[in-house]
């Protein structure tokens, strides 16, 4: 784990106003992102991965949501910045790419214009300088030949190239943090690897941290240094990637890893997790996973989650060997589980 963290989310809560009532979408998320690391955020649909990502850039509709907690980025709390100050953070210090690159690009402007617009906005430079920078960026993300591509419109590009354009745009101002929200989900399998490789190499080259949101543990294994597992608006386990595959501590993480399809094992059935995640219309004082958890006990109903975040060091003193420091798990049963 990094010495000091670039981004530190503390007890983040996001409530959404919906027609059916208040949804407690994020219920006390704690997350530390190290500098220069690729941090995976995994979980099933609707668990709050994207919500967490969008909260960092404050992309929610202010009228339909309320946020509390802290999002410290290089020591300053993003939640207390003014909208104007936030605009200077977005795209310059923290940028984001989305699941569907086709929808993330404006169909009516050339990709060159859309990238150089970002450069002009943050670097306060003229059109010529912005264009030169854009051409350089296009080359860097592997869109060739840059000068011809500069004049093309999004619909003239394949999905993979479109996502590369988004990456060029996101990395245009050398941000400290890139949030990638399922960047490969909408792409062909063959293209996925190229795009991941590009994100990986840019991260290394620019010392840029990446928060990689995915529901695919395979992707985590390939590129992430650390990983957090989310469930029902909370983070249930965080560890280094190698560690989480070797010693998953939370029952949910274990179940997730078991349900990764393995080729050539001859197994006919893919293990699945029975049940569905809880609806988040009420604040749950207990563990959100207890209804699906095979090891749930009385304790899981009453104890607040926050008390049950156990560090690996503490666990190691009991009976867990081999779990490295920095491995946190929000489960009361984790110790007995092994």
């Amino acid at each position: 784990m990094a010495e000091h963290s670039l981004l530190s989310i503390k007890d983040l809560r996001v409530d959404l106003m919906s027609i059916r009532g208040i949804v407690y979408a994020l219920d006390g998320v704690n997350l530390e992102l190290g500098e220069g690391l690729i941090h995976g955020l995994v979980g099933e649909s609707g668990c709050g991965k994207s919500m967490t990502a969008r909260s960092i850039l404050r992309l929610h509709d202010g009228k339909r949501s309320r946020m509390s907690g802290e999002i410290l980025f290089e020591g300053k709390n993003l939640l207390s910045l003014s909208e104007r100050e936030m605009q200077d953070v977005r795209g310059k210090q923290i940028s984001m790419i989305f699941q569907d690159p086709m929808n993330s690009l404006n169909p009516l402007y050339t990709i060159g214009e859309q990238i150089s617009e970002t450069v002009r906005r943050h670097e306060k430079c003229g059109k010529t300088a912005a264009k030169a920078r854009t051409l350089q960026l296009l080359g860097k993300v592997g869109i060739n030949p840059p000068d011809r591509r500069y004049r093309q419109y999004p619909f003239e590009l394949s999905g993979g190239l479109q996502q590369r354009v988004m990456i060029a745009m996101a990395s245009a101002c050398r941000p400290k943090l890139l949030i990638a929200d399922e960047p490969t989900t909408a792409l062909d399998v063959t293209i996925q690897a190229h795009v991941l490789e590009l994100i990986h190499s840019l991260s290394g080259e620019m010392g840029m941290s990446v928060l990689l949101i995915t529901h695919n543990f395979g992707i985590v294994a390939e590129v992430c240094d650390r990983v957090s597992v989310m469930y029902a608006g909370r983070i249930v386990e965080t560890a280094d990637t190698r560690d989480i595959f070797r010693h998953p501590a939370h029952p949910y993480t274990k179940a997730l890893i078991e349900s990764i399809p393995k080729a050539g094992t001859g197994e006919e059935y893919l293990p699945t997790i029975p049940g569905t995640p809880p609806e988040l219309f009420e604040r749950d004082p207990g563990c959100p996973y207890r209804d699906r958890c095979p090891r749930a006990g009385e304790a899981c109903k009453v104890r607040p989650m926050d008390e049950r975040i156990v560090t690996a060091k503490e666990l190691a003193t009991e009976q867990l060997q081999g779990i490295e420091a920095g491995h946190t798990v929000a489960c009361w049963q984790a110790a007995q589980a092994r």
């Binding site: 953070v89 940028s95 929808n103 404006n106 169909p107």
Partner: protein, 312 residues
């Protein structure tokens, strides 16, 4: 782009030709006696009657009559009015400028009012501003043009005396003042629909992926709204506006009546009543051509806005 425009022009010519056949046939299926229209109902001898029939080619078969009419029309001759014994082109030339000016002025007024209203409502969706503006525009569209015309005339012409209450001016600038109230009355009838289309499309665009991406890359709100979303919301707005502008050429007849302007609509209605074939045909054909021209302009604007149409 050139090929696209060329294709649209050819299409337009074909549509106008097809419409001309339709106009010709429809005028002829109405049960009426054109000779009566020429003689204003006076009794005439059989010889005079036959002479008139020959003069206006009414003895020929209908396809032949059509060919004579359309050939002359292409040369710019729409024939003579049965009733007024004047060339139809002269009749049109006297009246068209007023109508066109009203239509143009009210289109501009309508767009200037409805687009900002639509965008404002979309940006502040479901707020008090949105509700008030939506209600006001709804009231405006629900009141008929002649009523709004009379009310505007009462307030601004009779009471406040800011504008003349009827007639047209002599110079172009004078005309702007004379035609302002009629144009405003006509514009009000368009504002609600265009504002609504603008609002709903802007809401859709403001929630789109690229709008979110534009916010996420630090674009100021104004840029996101106007540069990114508005341009995307524009195509349906233009479509609706163009259809409204087209129908307004006819709708202008109502305000022309209220403000005693004597536009083209007046002539059209009276000539239909008196079975004045050449006038009905001539004016209807002109309206079709105007419609087609508006469509052509709109098609070119589409291509100019949207590269997907331009590069198809």
């Amino acid at each position: 782009m050139f090929r696209y425009v060329l294709k649209r022009i050819v299409q337009m010519i074909l549509i106008v030709l097809a419409a001309s056949v339709l106009i010709f046939v429809m005028v002829r299926v109405t049960p009426s006696d054109p000779i009566a229209s020429m003689t204003k109902g006076k009794r005439i001898s059989q010889e005079t009657r036959e002479a008139l029939v020959r003069q206006y080619h009414l003895d020929k078969s209908q396809p032949e009559q059509y060919l004579i009419w359309i050939k002359n029309a292409i040369r710019g001759d729409l024939g003579d009015s049965f009733e007024k014994k004047q060339p139809v082109t002269t009749l049109i030339a006297d009246r068209l400028p007023t109508t066109l000016q009203i239509v143009l002025m009210s289109s501009i007024l309508a767009l200037l009012l409805s687009i900002p209203i639509g965008v404002l409502c979309a940006v502040h969706m479901n707020s008090a501003v949105d509700r008030i503006l939506s209600s006001v525009t709804l009231i405006l569209v629900a009141s008929p043009v002649f009523l709004t015309g009379i009310v505007l005339s009462l307030i601004f012409a009779m009471k406040l005396r800011w504008f003349p209450s009827f007639g047209t001016g002599k110079t172009f600038v004078e005309n702007l003042r004379y035609l302002f109230l009629p144009s405003l009355a006509l514009a009000f009838s368009m504002v609600a629909l265009i504002a609504r289309i603008t609002r709903s499309n802007m809401i859709e665009q403001l929630h789109s992926g690229y709008a979110q991406a534009a916010v996420a890359k630090g674009m100021p709100r104004r840029t996101v709204i106007w540069k990114h979303c508005f341009k995307n919301a524009l195509i349906p707005v233009i479509t609706v506006a163009s259809i409204q502008i087209g129908t307004m050429v006819v709708g202008a007849v109502l305000v022309e009546n209220v403000f005693a302007l004597g536009g083209i609509g007046d002539v059209l209605i009276s000539s239909i009543k008196s079975s004045d074939y050449p006038v009905v045909q001539g004016i209807t054909l002109l309206l079709v051509v105007l419609f087609a021209l508006i469509n052509l302009i709109v098609d070119i604007v589409y291509a100019w806005i949207d590269p997907r149409i331009r590069l198809e």
